[in-house]
């Protein structure tokens, strides 16, 4: 398939006067894992529901492997499987029966993989859905999606409610899926999970896409975190080009530097630095850097 796994052109969704998604342009190449990030209400779930053809775009279009998601949903869905954290399943069916049903609805299932997934996720498929915990209901959906070996996995906060052990199993299978050439769109608030799994990150804010890059590109464009220790009181580095976010705690100074690091190194050497560490920013720091501090509620 030459077409990208996902293509959104000017995708817009309005509910009355509320703009849930505003002219989103997004391309996810086949075989990659895209982390789709944004705060609550930014438009992540709206995007995914548009990609699935569950809601109608106000304008623009969404394509799955070149097939219009709204006009030809059945053909588009032949390529994808979907998981969400809002687990509403048929309460009187057992977990195994839900897997049967969703397998039939998708059309093709790897039976051996299904049994392997049931064992790996430690799911008892003989219980009725109403008797499962939230995490176990989530496992049903993950198994249902993975057992199809769909070309595209659309995952909306798929690990909410899962314990860390199951989370590790999930990561293993997602990496395997990518290695097999499957594409994954992963919307999540678990930034460590996105950092561990994703090739690319797209950040959406107030219905608009504000960034889409690989993690490496994002890091290159972002500030470097520095921690330096001095024999006495740290020097005042406020005038050094590129330095900001200065914090002093005793003889330890922390700051971030953008652009060339040379002026900072010179200033530190002149002040007699005894120890210095530098590290690239975490995804959480990158994510927060795209939002005004005012958007983050006070603790």
């Amino acid at each position: 398939m030459d077409a990208p796994a996902v293509r959104a052109d000017g995708l817009t969704k309005r509910y009355g006067r509320t703009v849930a998604l505003d002219h989103l342009d997004l391309v996810v190449p086949a075989g990659q894992i895209l982390g789709y990030l944004g705060p609550n209400g930014a438009g992540k779930t709206t995007t995914l529901r548009l990609l699935l053809g569950l809601i109608r775009p106000t304008s623009g279009r969404a394509e799955i492997f070149g097939v219009d998601a709204w006009r030809e949903p059945v053909r588009a869905h032949a390529h994808l499987a979907y998981v969400t954290s809002d687990v509403a399943l048929w309460p009187t069916l057992t977990g195994g029966e839900v897997l049967d049903l969703l397998g039939h609805a998708h059309g093709a299932v790897d039976g051996a993989l299904r049994e392997e997934l049931i064992a790996s996720f430690d799911l008892d498929p003989t219980l009725r859905v109403r008797a499962y915990s939230t995490g176990n209901r989530q496992k049903i959906l993950l198994i249902a999606a993975l057992m199809t070996r769909a070309d595209l996995l659309v995952l909306d906060e798929p690990t909410r409610g899962l314990d860390p052990l199951v989370d590790q199993v999930f990561r293993t299978y997602i990496r395997q899926a990518r290695d097999r050439g499957q594409t994954v769109v992963l919307s999540s608030h678990e930034l460590s999970e996105v950092e561990a799994l994703c090739d690319q990150v797209a950040i959406v804010r107030a219905g608009r896409l504000v960034e889409q890059r690989t993690l490496a590109e994002l890091r290159q464009l972002s500030a470097l975190a520095i921690e330096a220790t001095f024999p006495g009181r740290p020097p005042d580095l406020r005038g050094v080009p590129g330095v900001h976010a200065l914090e002093v705690e005793g003889s330890v100074l922390r700051c971030q530097v953008e652009g060339s690091i040379e002026p900072l190194l010179r200033a530190l050497a002149e002040a007699g630095v005894t120890r210095m560490t530098s590290r690239e920013p975490s995804l959480e720091e990158l994510f927060l850097a795209h939002y005004d501090r005012a958007d983050v509620p006070a603790p």
Partner: protein, 544 residues
């Protein structure tokens, strides 16, 4: 350190659950109470107009005063030559059933419904005990019951202030008491079923089954079979025995009070001993995999909906059979030109068994229409709960899913028409009434056009305005019934009568089905279905 939001020494809101429940039940109680009051007042005010002469009133009394079939269906009919007697006969049982349903739903909603959503987990995590929380919710429902009854009485009083109306305020007060008794009885039942069952759906269904049994017991008790003592075995029978408009009997309130106290206490005991989120009745949540009917949306529709359809089929068959059993005896009591006039006002053009079956066809048509609307309600529930997302996110076309749903509705309706005809034929034949099977199968089929119209309207609403589809559609059934009850006896303008689908249905087998009207109703239904399907294909899926 920050100043605490809650000042030191402040007490937690002790009556929080009570307040929340009252807020929820008072509005609904007032609305339902007003509707019940309007039904009563309309009936009372129409009497003078429809039966202006003494001769007509006597004819009415002769026609229905000792007619076992109508008494079995609607309750006793004493003093039909008075406004109070007429109103009692026309509305008492309807009011009892509606108030019972309100009480049941209010209790299961306030108790099991709130618990099912997980909101009680939050409340019980605070300084509250389960029994006290349950008691507060019950007290809140109690306030709603009082509001329901008071509003019914107030609206009735306001509407019949004219002395010509013929109802005294003490009678209206008694009527309010009967509504209070019916709602209390089934609210108490709902409180208990909420402890027994783990979901609101199950708790309400159990309550509705008890209501159906109560109705059947009362029906047999009033059917002139020498079993009148059975009336004391039915909660609806107790309310009937209160007879506030004709022969007030406060003694009949005693079993209501005992029932409410016993069931209320049992509910509180149940709340104390069971786990939050679970029911007292053990459920087997583990079973072997059953692969049948999981191959797609059509199969799933049958797997999840067939038991409901089967219950409807059994209910309609039993109902039609009961009517058929008493129809011959009831029909034999009808005679004379004045009585014929009374029956013609109810839509029958013949006398005897066929006339009785024709009049009873209205009730069956209402039930069949409820089944039709219920199928659309089930589809909407599937969408609102998010289940539909999983199917259409795979390779299932949403249009195909809806067509399967509508196909199931068509089969359900077709089966109902057939079973109604066969059950009536079997029952009437067993009593020696000679009404041919063809005629009765035709009468069964005649119930379907109004149901198809309402199915079409409900489907169109589902496609265009999903959140309103269910309440508006059920409202249309209620409206159509109300209009045809009041209008069928000449108390309403013709254009208003035309808004009722049941008005356009012939009272078969008392009269021949109206081919043209049936064709138009079917056409409206099909246009509605087509509109709904097209709109559904073009709209967003909408959660709760």
């Amino acid at each position: 350190m920050k100043t605490p939001t809650v000042p030191a020494g402040a007490r937690p809101a002790r009556a929080l659950v009570f307040t929340l429940t009252v807020r929820r039940t008072v509005r609904s109680g007032a609305l339902w109470g007003a509707a019940l009051g309007l039904i009563t007042a309309t009936s009372a005010l129409s009497y003078d107009r429809v039966y202006p002469t003494h001769a007509l009133r006597l004819a009415l009394a002769r026609a229905f005063g000792s007619n076992t079939m109508t008494i079995a269906l609607f309750g006793p009919a004493p003093h039909l030559d008075t406004v109070a007697g007429f109103t009692s006969f026309k509305v008492s049982l309807t009011l009892s059933v509606l108030a019972s349903l309100w009480g049941l739903r209010a209790a299961t909603g306030a108790l099991r419904g709130e618990e099912e959503t997980g909101r009680w987990d939050l409340l019980l995590a605070g300084p509250r005990r389960r029994v006290a929380t349950t008691a507060q919710a019950l007290a809140g429902v109690g306030v709603g019951v009082v509001v329901l009854a008071a509003t019914c009485a107030l609206v009735t009083t306001a509407a019949i202030r004219s002395p010509a109306s013929g109802l005294r305020w003490t009678q209206v007060l008694g009527l309010g008491g009967a509504v209070l008794a019916a709602a209390t009885t089934f609210a108490a039942l709902g409180a208990l079923t909420s402890q027994l069952d783990a979901t609101r759906h199950d708790a309400t269904t159990t309550g509705v089954v008890v209501l159906a049994i109560a109705y059947a017991l009362r029906l047999v008790a009033d059917a002139g079979l020498g079993l009148h003592a059975l009336v004391w075995a039915s909660p609806l029978g107790w309310v009937e025995e209160m007879a506030p408009l004709t022969a007030p009997s406060p003694v009949a309130a005693v079993p209501v009070a005992i029932w409410a106290i016993v069931l209320g206490a049992a509910a509180l005991r149940g709340a104390r001993v069971r786990d939050v989120g679970a029911g007292l009745l053990a459920r087997d949540d583990r079973r072997r995999r059953r692969r049948r009917l999981l191959t797609g949306p059509g199969a799933l529709t049958w797997r999840l909906g067939s038991s409901t359809i089967l219950r409807w089929w059994i209910g309609i068959t039993l109902g039609a059979g009961l009517i058929g059993l008493v129809a011959r005896k009831a029909g034999s009591t009808i005679g004379g030109s004045s009585v014929r006039d009374v029956f013609s006002r109810l839509g029958a053009t013949t006398l005897g068994t066929r006339a009785v079956l024709g009049v009873a066809s209205l009730i069956l048509a209402v039930v069949v229409s409820l089944l039709a609307v219920g199928q659309v309600a089930a589809a909407r529930a599937e969408e609102a709960r998010g289940h539909l997302d999983w199917l259409v996110a795979s390779r299932v076309s949403r249009v195909r899913w809806l067509l399967w749903r509508l196909g199931a509705a068509a089969i359900a309706l077709g089966g109902v028409g057939l079973l109604e005809g066969l059950a009536t034929w079997g029952a009437t034949a067993s009593q020696g009434a000679h009404v041919g099977p063809t005629l009765l199968l035709e009468a069964g089929a005649n119930l379907l056009p109004p149901a198809l119209t309402l199915l079409g309207v409900a489907t169109a609403l589902y496609g265009l305005w999903p959140r309103a589809a269910v309440p508006v559609s059920y409202g249309l059934v209620a409206w159509s019934l109300l209009i045809v009850i009041v209008g069928g006896i000449g108390a309403i303008s013709p254009w208003l009568l035309d808004t009722s689908v049941f008005h356009h249905m012939a009272g078969a087998p008392a009269e021949a089905p109206r081919a043209a009207a049936n064709a138009i109703m079917c056409a409206i239904g099909l246009v509605g279905i087509a509109t709904g399907v097209v709109a559904f294909a073009r709209r967003d899926l909408v959660a709760t």
